[in-house]
């Protein structure tokens, strides 16, 4: 995959483009100072752009909606949602899987592309990692809040010594989830913070406000940029990348076990782990695209997030999207090939049942629409890509809806079949988490460097002249 995307040791990477070559990872004319000035300037400016306030206000309003919903949820119970029997899980788990999936791109970009020495990752990895963290925060809310008694679930799901000598039930995939997601969250946080340390020191040194200096100073952990610091930093970062790499595969594999381990037609499938992981990366890159396009436009970061990045992200989406589409074909094939009437009906119900419109929308988006990414003209059209990336987000949400709701609402006994209809509180919870995600993201781009300054400095031509930094 890496070879197909880029040459890892291209000595001319970062040089100007001549039309025939792939676009550079950084626009020409930048040096160490200009990069640092540009990126640190976003954070250290005294004049917060009015647009930021505008965006943050909207996001924050939805965050308040989330708080309201959670308050009502805790007071009244999850009956405020549309879940029922047989559809025990609905928006709650759809949103959980969706957010966790989105989080995957950050880790993939940070860890795997680092190990594959993909230089183009440097200008997007920081905010992709932040996105991961925020997405995991949104996701982690659901496994807890979807329970009937979250005040107990919050600690009974962890193995802790207690007077009842009771452990969690380790055969349950939900327990595996607890470990997978909490590990993922922890490692992602460490990885993100470790990567931030040199930049925090830069901000500490450049900040004019004493308060900001103090705060950045605390979090910079006394970074002075000595060779020893850099040596340890590199080693720590590499180790964390090594730890994160299997997590990219494991987290969504385990999330897919929530379904694959069950007996339900439509859930009980061996294709789920790879299919889920590919879907996660696919949706994660779509979200990076969704965030990167306005970000580079608004903060004039076209020099740093170049068409090269845009192209590469599109290609990753195309590849992973095709794997997902293969998953759909595979599901349909096995529903027929297994000759199992329950599986067969499940597939038929997806295609022709009450939720068929969602199934075909999902096929349209995730299998057909992404074929547009084959075309260079599409890949060059940033505005179009932004719209398409939004569609991919929707498509991947629909995929989880189809997997969860259509499998549950008509299972083995026709007597228990029912219909699921979300309530306004389902939508409030969902849009609320989007509000939380965007609020955090707005705060992040305002108070922390959205791009890794010190890493960007390694890809300016100046750095190349001094030799490979690795």
């Amino acid at each position: 995959m890496a070879e197909a995307l880029d040459h890892p040791h291209d000595p001319l990477a970062g040089m100007s483009t001549d039309g025939l070559r792939t676009p550079a990872v950084i626009a020409p004319g930048h040096d160490f100072n200009s990069v640092t000035d540009k990126i640190a300037g976003i954070v250290l400016t005294k004049r917060t752009p009015i647009g930021w306030f505008f965006g943050f206000a909207i996001a924050f309003a939805f965050l308040l909606l989330l708080n309201l919903t959670i308050g009502k949820l805790l007071l009244e119970g999850i009956g405020i949602w549309g879940n029922n029997v047989p559809v025990g899980w609905a928006f709650d788990i759809i949103n959980f899987v969706w957010w966790i999936g989105i989080g995957h791109a950050g880790t993939l970009i940070s860890a795997i592309l680092l190990l594959f020495r993909q230089q183009w990752r440097t200008s997007i990895n920081r905010f992709a990692e932040a996105m991961t963290l925020f997405a995991v925060a949104c996701a982690a809310m659901f496994p807890l809040l979807h329970t009937g008694r979250p005040w107990l679930a919050i600690y009974w799901l962890f193995p802790y010594p207690n007077s009842m000598t009771l452990w969690p039930q380790f055969r349950s995939p939900l327990i595996w989830d607890v470990f997978a997601v909490s590990t993922y969250g922890t490692v992602s946080l460490l990885f993100w913070f470790t990567g931030l340390v040199p930049d925090l020191a830069t901000l500490r040194d450049r900040a004019e406000s004493p308060v900001a200096r103090k705060i950045f100073g605390v979090f910079a952990l006394g970074w002075r940029g000595s060779a020893r610091h850099w040596h340890r930093y590199e080693m720590a970062y590499l180790l964390l990348a090594g730890i994160s790499t299997p997590l990219v595969l494991s987290v969504h594999t385990i999330v897919s076990f929530d379904f694959a381990v069950s007996v339900l037609p439509g859930w009980h499938a061996t294709i789920f782990p790879p299919y889920f992981v590919a879907g996660a990366i696919y949706s994660g890159f779509a979200m990076v695209m969704t965030l990167a396009v306005p970000l580079r436009k608004f903060y004039h970061l076209e020099d740093f997030i170049t068409m090269r990045h845009i192209h590469n992200m599109t290609k990753v989406m195309l590849v992973t999207g095709m794997i997902v589409a293969y998953g759909y074909v595979n599901e349909a094939f096995f529903a027929w090939y297994s000759a199992n009437p329950y599986e067969g009906y499940m597939m038929l119900n997806r295609m022709t049942g009450p939720y068929a419109v969602f199934y075909w929308s999902l096929i349209l988006i995730n299998a057909l629409m992404i074929q547009l990414f084959w075309f260079r003209r599409v890949r060059d059209n940033v505005a179009l890509l932004f719209v398409l990336s939004l569609f991919v987000n929707v498509g991947m949400w629909l995929e989880r809806f189809i997997i969860i709701v259509t499998s549950l609402h008509r299972d083995f006994l026709p007597s228990s079949w029912d219909i699921y209809t979300p309530t306004r509180w389902d939508f409030a919870m969902f849009t609320g988490t989007i509000g939380l995600f965007l609020s955090l993201f707005f705060l992040f781009i305002r108070f922390l460097p959205a791009l890794a300054m010190f890493e960007m400095r390694t890809i300016v031509p100046e750095a190349k002249l001094q030799g490979d930094h690795h």
Binding site: V85, G148, S262, L264, P414, S415
Partner: protein, 1053 residues
């Protein structure tokens, strides 16, 4: 309040009313709804005082004083049968151990013998009385739900006169004053209106009253009574008689629109008898055959081997045709539809081949002539004396109730009625609409109502007296075969209510007497046994306390209910026995203990069918009209509306429609398609200038061009659960057409209405969930059940097999005998403290029933085969729910039960998602009522009351297992087969559900599981359910159903 009161109209009204009319305001005279509303608000006379500070202070002073004085006035002498606190703990009462008392429930003009479980003085659960000939230890759904009726917080709680609280004494004085004025005219202006009376004591009291007032009249009115059956017997025999069917002796049964298995006073008996001929554990030749001709689908029809849907008005012609072929004198065959014509030949042949071993039963909704024809057919077939006998009626005073009511209303309108005592019933709601009962009632100067609720009738009466629930009162009742049971109270009246006995006696010469004394006195007189105790010296030894074995039925099923309880004491509320005991007391105690008065069943009467009875009724009188036809039926859940405020029954999915909380106009799919209707479309029905708007609901197998309207809904003053629910179909029900209304215009309104159904899907989708064969197929291939496409993989397990050393519980459900009567569902709800969630939650698929009855159809949409499949936790050996619970809240125990640990549950709902049977129920919101005090009394103390956020499900009634375990341990023995009966098993009239230890190869459940018909549902998932099902074997007549088409059906099932 209404400002536009028409003064002239009021004046006219006042002038037209005769005698003293009391009115308090113009609105009171005009009787506007607003005023009625106002009248019944709390303290209407003082409401305005609240706005005035001075007035409020005065009001509060008054209230304070009256509260203080209330304490003084409460010091009345308590009657001797009241409960007294323990000075010394009674020997038989151990806290935590329930006691069981025999009593009886009066319903449909007959009694059902019951055993009621009582925990520390509060009744919690109703079971059938195994000693009782009609119930034999089982109950129907109404009896199961009656316990909630007792604790209904909406029951009326105070005696009122025009909305103001009064004492019983002032009521009695007021009425006595009227009566003494009537004395001179021999009571010519006095009328007593009751429901069908089946209590010998009450009948004797009323007759005595009528001897004092010879010109007074007693009218009985039951909205869904056995009017037609009664008149049919008079038509056939010239006398009111009850037919007693020995269904177990019949090889061929023809049902003419009769739901004889699930309705009526003999339903339980018939169900049990019918089931006894449908089991395939032994001799297969004994299987009976049921032909059912019916208009509206019934549970009985769902068990039929051959079912013919016809319009209700066509059934008479069909009956005549059959009768003519059977040689009933004076009957000529009429024209019947083509489908029916095909039936007649084979059916008559089958009936004639089984002379003396067949029976024809007519339904209560069919006109009297059909009943008479059925009697004549039975006579012609030589069945009388064999499968059917005739006795005097269980009701004390059979009369033509419809004519009686009509006459009463006429007299009321003619102002000839001056005092109307309505003892039970709700005629304002239920009387035929064209009688305008409410208008006539307004013309009666003095009207009093005794009832459980301040209902529509109470609102229009001057006096309302809260009636005692049958679990609060002393009475007696005859069951269908005449056997008398004493109704004994389980608890002192919760709201100080009065029984009809007490009301009548209070108006009598001797003044108010307790029901206890009245019933005892009557029976002492009847039996001639003296209530005088012999002198102490000569006192005989007290009756030896009876042991639990004494109440053990022949089948032993009921023993476990007592769970090793102590001997049932003679009377719970009677004063402690004082030696010496009178001869009557010795008998009395035995009656109370057994729940039956011995040797009171009626002897069969010799009968002779009157010649030419059929000529009295012109043929085809009812088969007119080309429009839509409507049949009125009692609602399967709330009957005629008397159970409307019972939330268990409201939420109970009606057996064939699975509707809850509403009624609808049932319609066949073909008719609906022709009229361009789908379920939920609101239609407007018009006939004779009366209209009704009601949504339709499609029911496969429903008669063509026919709507079924069920009674009991659209109540306005029934209580919080029932007010405004459903549609009052009484607005179309007239004197002339109380059962079948023809020539109805149907107009689609374009509106829709949301109906809450618990099962939206009818079809089996080709899945082998219900396995069916015919008798011929079964004989040819006894292992057909095992020859299915999907086979379980045995022995595949990651965790190893568990060896069950002691007990290993299991259940078998015989689908051959289940008729979907729903008694088990209510029994489970009652036993296990299952909450009610309301219509909105049911519509969202959140009903909480641990046990549901799945209903499937196969075959032709217009006449499908209907199957009932009770579905409860299957207690899988390899339970899919257990492995996915993250906190181990659902685990397997060492007796094979899939335990649910509520305290540990955090509510992920993964277990429910992974349950292939979807029998787990989740408390999405706080469904339990934690606040209403009376409802707290009802709950079973042995079962956890679940809170919000917790999953729950069937436990195989683990609390009953544990009761039996304690009892067995005390006696140092193993739990015997039959010691444990689950609530559903105990209630089941057909004994379709059998629970027991599958490690014991001789247990009933093991024997059923060894049957070749036994199969587990979805066994191919390797869940290894402990609940298994017995496949259905139908017994069709090969002339009507060739073997080849039966074969197609099997692959279908």
């Amino acid at each position: 309040m209404n400002e536009t009161t028409d003064i002239d109209a009021l004046r006219a009204r006042l002038e037209s009313s005769r005698g003293k009319e009391y009115w308090r305001s113009l609105e009171a005279v005009s009787e506007t709804p607003e005023f009625k509303e106002f009248l019944h608000r709390e303290f209407p006379q003082n409401a305005s005082e609240w706005l005035d500070p001075v007035g409020r202070r005065g009001f509060l002073k008054l209230m304070g004083a009256s509260l203080a004085l209330a304490g003084v006035s409460a010091c009345t002498r308590q009657p001797t049968e009241e409960l007294v606190p323990y000075v010394r703990q009674p020997e038989e009462l151990v806290p935590g151990k329930p006691l069981f008392y025999a009593t009886a429930m009066t319903f449909n003009g007959a009694g059902m013998g019951l055993l009621v479980e009582s925990h520390e003085g509060r009744p919690t659960k109703i079971e059938g009385n195994p000693e009782h000939p009609s119930s034999r230890g089982t109950t129907d759904l109404f009896a199961q739900a009656a316990i909630l009726g007792l604790y209904d917080p909406d029951r009326s709680q105070t005696i009122t006169n025009l909305g103001e609280i009064r004492s019983f004494g002032s009521f009695a004085n007021a009425i006595r004053a009227v009566l003494s004025a009537q004395q001179a005219r021999q009571g010519a202006g006095v009328r007593i209106l009751t429901e069908t009376v089946a209590s010998p004591t009450l009948a004797a009291q009323i007759r005595e009253f009528l001897t004092r007032f010879p010109q007074a009249k007693w009218v009985q009115w039951e909205p869904v009574g056995r009017h037609n059956a009664r008149e049919g017997s008079r038509l056939a025999f010239g006398d009111y008689l009850d037919a007693q069917y020995a269904v177990e002796k019949a090889d061929v049964i023809l049902s003419l629109d009769a739901d004889f298995l699930c309705t009526g006073a003999s339903g339980l008996k018939h169900s049990r008898a019918f089931a006894s001929r449908r089991r395939f554990d032994g001799d297969r030749a004994q299987v009976n055959r049921l032909y059912s001709v019916e208009s509206s689908p019934t549970n009985t029809g769902s068990r039929a081997d051959h079912r013919l849907p016809l319009r209700a008005s066509e059934i008479e012609a069909f009956a005549r045709a059959i009768a003519a072929q059977l040689g009933v004198g004076g009957v000529a065959g009429g024209t019947v539809p083509e489908a029916a014509n095909r039936w007649i030949g084979p059916l008559v042949k089958d009936l004639q081949a089984n002379r003396g071993r067949s029976v024809v039963i007519a339904g209560d909704g069919q006109p009297a002539i059909v009943h008479a024809l059925a009697h004549a057919m039975n006579d012609a077939l030589g069945n009388v004396g064999a499968t059917v006998t005739y006795t005097q009626t269980a009701e004390a005073q059979p009369m033509n109730q419809r004519a009686g009511l009509q006459e009463l209303v006429g007299e009321m309108n003619a102002n000839r009625v001056e005092l109307l005592l309505i003892l039970g019933g709700n005629p304002v709601y239920s009387a035929p609409v064209d009688l305008r009962f409410a208008d006539a009632l307004a013309k009666v100067p003095q009207r009093a109502h005794l009832g459980l609720y301040e209902d529509e009738t109470a609102a229009l009466c001057h006096w309302h007296i809260p009636e005692t629930h049958f679990l609060e009162m002393w009475s007696d009742v005859r069951s269908d075969d005449g056997t008398v049971s004493v109704v004994q109270p389980l608890i002192a009246p919760l709201y100080g209510g009065k029984s009809a006995h007490e009301v009548i006696s209070a108006l009598g010469a001797s003044g108010e007497r307790s029901g206890y004394d009245l019933v005892r006195e009557y029976w002492s007189k009847q039996t001639g046994v003296t209530m005088q105790a012999p002198p102490a010296a000569a006192a005989p030894a007290p009756v030896a306390p009876t042991t639990p074995a004494a109440i053990a039925p022949a089948n032993g099923a009921q023993v476990a209910l007592t769970g090793g309880a102590q001997p049932t004491p003679p009377a719970p509320i009677a004063a402690s026995p004082v030696a010496p005991v009178s001869p009557f007391d010795r008998e009395w105690r035995k009656w109370l203990h057994d729940g039956v008065v011995p040797n009171t069943a009626f002897a069969p009467r010799a009968i002779a069918v009157q010649a030419n009875f059929a000529a009295q009724v012109p043929a085809g009188a009812g088969a007119q009209g080309n429009g839509i036809e409507v049949v009125f039926r009692p609602d399967p859940s709330i009957h005629d509306g008397r159970f409307a405020n019972n939330a268990w029954l409201q939420e109970l999915p009606k057996s064939l429609t699975k509707l809850t909380w509403d009624n609808a106009a049932l319609i066949s799919p073909a008719t609906a398609a022709r009229l361009n209707l789908i379920s939920g479309d609101v239609v407007e029905l018009t006939q004779g200038g009366r209209t009704l708007r009601i949504p339709v609901w499609l029911v496969p197998g429903h008669g063509p061009d026919l709507l079924t309207l069920s009674l009991g809904y659209g109540r306005t003053r029934a209580g919080r659960a029932a007010n405004g629910i459903g549609f009052n179909v009484n607005v179309l029900r007239t004197m002339a057409a109380p059962d079948v209304l023809t020539g109805v215009d149907l107009v689609k309104t374009g509106d829709t209405y949301d109906l809450a159904s618990t099962q939206d899907h009818w079809s089996l989708e080709g899945r082998n969930l219900v396995r069916v064969a015919t008798t011929a197929q079964y004989a040819a291939d006894p292992d057909f059940v095992k020859k299915q496409e999907l086979q379980p993989l045995t022995g595949l397990t990651m965790y190893g097999e568990h060896k069950y050393e002691g007990y290993s519980w299991g259940m078998a459900i015989d689908q051959n005998v289940c008729n979907g009567c729903n008694a088990c569902v209510v029994a489970c709800q009652s036993e296990n403290n299952i909450p009610v969630v309301g219509k909105a939650q049911v519509m969202n698929g959140r009903e909480m029933h641990w046990l549901r009855i799945d209903r499937y159809y196969t075959g032709d949409l217009e006449n499908p085969d209907t199957y009932h499949q009770p579905m409860l936790c299957q207690q899988c050996e390899a339970a899919p729910c257990e492995v996915v619970c993250p906190v181990a809240a659902t685990v397997h125990n060492d007796e094979g039960l899939n335990d649910m640990v509520y305290n540990r549950c955090v509510g992920t709902r993964y277990c429910s998602n992974n349950c292939p049977y979807k029998v787990r129920r989740f408390n999405f919101l706080l469904y339990q009522d934690w606040d209403t005090p009376s409802l707290k009394l009802q709950r079973n103390p042995d079962v956890t009351v679940r809170s919000r956020g917790v999953m729950e499900k069937c436990t195989y009634c683990v609390q009953r297992i544990n009761h039996a375990r304690v009892a067995a341990k005390l006696e140092d023995r193993e739990i015997r087969d039959g010691d444990v009966t689950t609530a559903c098993e105990a209630a089941c009239p057909t004994q379709a559900i059998v629970f027991g230890n599958i490690n014991d190869k001789n247990s009933r459940v093991s024997k059923l599981k060894a049957s070749s018909l036994n199969y587990g549902l979805l066994e191919e998932l390797n869940s290894r359910p402990r609940t298994t099902y017995l496949a259905i074997v139908r017994n069709p007549n090969t002339e009507l159903e060739p073997a080849s088409s039966a074969g197609e059906e099997r692959t279908n099932g």
